[in-house]
Amino acid sequence: MPRNDSLETGELTDTSYYILVSLIEAKHGYLIMKTIEDMTNQQFSIGPASMYTTIKKLLAAELIMLFSESKDKKKTYVATEKGIQFLKKEIQRRKEMIKHAEDALGGL
């Protein structure tokens, strides 16, 4: 399965996941990048080409929407209700994945 079509299967890539998390409150592109870097202590950062592509994909899937466009051409986005539901499902999926591994390790 081509992994980049994961939105259709209901899974979020790490990039989409963090963008959605940071768009619980409306933000423009660069602020999304900064927020994610701060949130993850610089462990996760998104390049501009990946950011642009993923924003377009999330918009097309209606997981985020255009919030406003300022005079300096900066577009602000915010997660939609569908996006938040998607995110909640993804959190559950990831929690289960962690639990599976922890169970297998048996507290090692």
Binding site: P2, T13, T15, Y30, M33, G47, S50, Y52, K73, K75
Partner: protein
């Protein structure tokens, strides 16, 4: 002294990293990328600089696109056909692509783009073959057959330009999906 210099491209579908490395090496010697040229690049004389170059393919690049790159420290250098864009940044600037999924997206867009071009040429070739056959059966004047022959040779040569990149992108995508 000459102010500009032309260098050949290895073809961005085949030698993207080599091309970008070459541009970076030239920048160290004070030859900075100025614009795309026919099958290559035009460089202009400037201050020697330590720069890394990145190439992106985006047909719908808008203000927001260029702004994102600028904010992330990547300066837009030049574009070709509103689709190929080259950016430069000081060493240490984070790469323009940060995950494999969007890199795959990029090569898919490029493959689709050259694929469309290759298909149009193939469609023309089908018509030419048809004219050719019709003329050899005497349904069309002989001259039509001759002209079709010449055009067929030309279109075969032209087919190489989108055709080979198409195969290159296909191979690249196959490799990326196996990671």
């Amino acid at each position: 002294m000459k102010k500009t210099k032309y260098i050949m491209s290895g073809g961005t579908a085949f030698a993207e990293q080599e091309d970008l490395q070459k541009l970076s090496d030239y920048a160290k010697k004070g030859w900075l990328l100025d614009r795309f040229a026919f099958l290559g690049y035009t460089l202009k004389k400037g201050e020697p600089q330590d720069l890394q170059y990145s190439l992106d393919f985006q047909e719908n690049a808008d203000d927001e696109y260029f702004l994102l790159f600028k904010d992330a420290g990547w300066q837009h250098v030049c574009s070709e056909g509103h689709a190929m864009h080259i950016f430069s940044a000081p060493p240490g600037t984070k790469p323009i692509y940060s995950d494999i999924e969007t890199i795959i997206d990029r090569y898919k867009r490029e493959k689709h783009f050259v694929g469309k071009a290759a298909l149009s040429i193939l469609a023309i070739m089908m018509f030419l073959l048809l004219f050719n056959a019709m003329s050899s059966y005497g349904w069309l004047p002989e001259a039509v057959g001759m002209i079709s022959d010449i055009l067929l040779i030309i279109s075969t040569v032209l087919l190489v330009f989108p055709g080979l990149p198409y195969l290159a992108y296909q191979r690249k995508l196959k490799k990326l999906r196996n990671i």
